[in-house]
Subunit: 239 residues, 2 copies
DNA sequence: CGGATACTTGAATGTAATCAATCACAGTGG
DNA sequence: CCACTGTGATTGATTACATTCAAGTATCCG
């Protein structure tokens, strides 16, 4: 089974491989500054552009520098699923096998760091600290994906949306401060495909939350939390 | 975010760390025989027993020697989701963080190899080949979990069941030969929680497939494929 | 055997999907 | 400047699939 990973830093673990640029911040003793940036070159992709195709040889590891990308899987009849949204600092494209298992596309215009796979692997071989951080990222990703399984398998539409809004908001705010709003650069279709819903349902649920006074929608891409506690209750299923 | 992994070997990659016992088989040149068995002790658990609790300190890595275990996540109101079933040869319990993120329970009676986390990590530090195999397993697991996201997000009940039957059957048969039947040691409730369905739906769909002549059900735990091609078409959504 | 648990089947309900307009907005060209 | 066009978002009406509620049947284990 071809396997690529689409990494996002585990939100509560230490700064993962590649987060240094965005956040110079607190660095425990055992962590030499690894300049992932020095291993690759910057590339820009316009909105909607496919960055890697499913089945392409996995020769490059990427790090998101700005913008957002989505990883996409398709069924033969066209049904689509978005496995994850990757934000600046996230790393993707490392595959144990020789092929990428899913496509990756630019949500808006993005800039990425392209790192040749061999160079990335050489870093892992030579730098024990980098290795530990990378393994930590991968494990964090696994845990996050399992939360998503629970969401898709057992949560209602409202719970999925509430979970998505809060989780997306808090991925940016690493300061401990709970976010008061969230920017959604992706379309309703992307959100729907990420949450296993339809565009109409996403739209309806957002409207419902707005009518209930839990959120405001000054623009389609901007959600302001008016009652964060209530949203958190919904996530947990306490309705 | 606490993160544990529940590993199962990527089905199409080389024998992963820990598969040696079950399969001495073809071993590429760069692979010294790592005796994971020599690092830990055997323990037995009776049917239904909880092996690790979510939130427990992640001090032990396990390898399934016989039987099947399930990894379970719960919502506060009791809704349950089974993230994975682990078969003999599979490794679980390695967490980047210090806590297990989900519970692991014995499906039948099982015997496990308990390996102290420190000893497992020491192996990874010292043995580059073991490290590569482990990373490969983790990446394979990530890819498999993403397939499961697609299943939960976009597939119908029949497609989920067909996918589950074939995937489970083929996890055992590593000979290339497509399996002609599959043994299901877990209950319908376990299957339902794994596929995001209810027991009733699982039962109904199996009956439907039986009436259509695609499978036989000599016992509830034993499924014989009568038309594997048709099942594969259903998986892909070609109905 | 008897009791419990697991599985199957049936009927009714409900949540989200589908089908179908309408609305909002950005970009373009008259 | 403003109508025009196209895309994305919202809202409404209806449908469908899986769930829920409710028996009934098989199987396992004492």
């Amino acid at each position: 089974m071809a396997t690529a990973l689409t990494l996002q830093h585990p939100s509560r673990s230490f700064a993962p491989l590649g987060r240094q640029a965005a956040r110079p911040a607190p660095r425990p003793a055992d962590r030499p500054a690894v300049q992932l940036e020095s291993l690759g070159a910057l590339v820009a992709y316009p909105c909607g552009k496919t960055i890697v195709e499913a089945g392409d040889p996995a020769e490059t590891v990427f790090k998101v520098m700005s913008g957002v990308v989505r990883t996409v899987r398709l069924l033969p009849d066209g049904r689509r699923h978005v496995a994850s949204f990757l934000l600046p600092g996230d790393v993707f494209g490392y595959a144990a096998d020789e092929e990428y298992p899913c496509a990756v596309e630019a949500v808006g215009s993005v800039s990425l760091l392209r790192i040749p796979r061999a160079r990335f692997e050489a870093l892992l071989e030579s730098d024990a600290a980098a290795r530990r951080r990378f393994l930590s990222m991968v494990c964090g990703e696994l845990s996050a994906v399992q939360d998503q399984l629970l969401l898709l398998g057992r949560k209602t539409a409202v719970e999925r949306i509430a979970t998505f809004l809060l989780a997306t908001a808090d991925r940016r705010a690493r300061d401990g401060e709970p976010a008061r709003d969230v920017h959604l650069p992706m379309t309703r279709a992307d959100i729907a495909d990420y949450l296993g819903l339809t565009v109409e349902t996403v739209s309806r649920v957002l409207s419902q939350l707005r009518h209930q006074g839990l959120i405001e929608l000054p623009q389609a891409t901007h959600v302001v939390f008016r009652d964060r506690d209530a949203l958190e209750d919904i996530c947990a299923g306490d309705v």
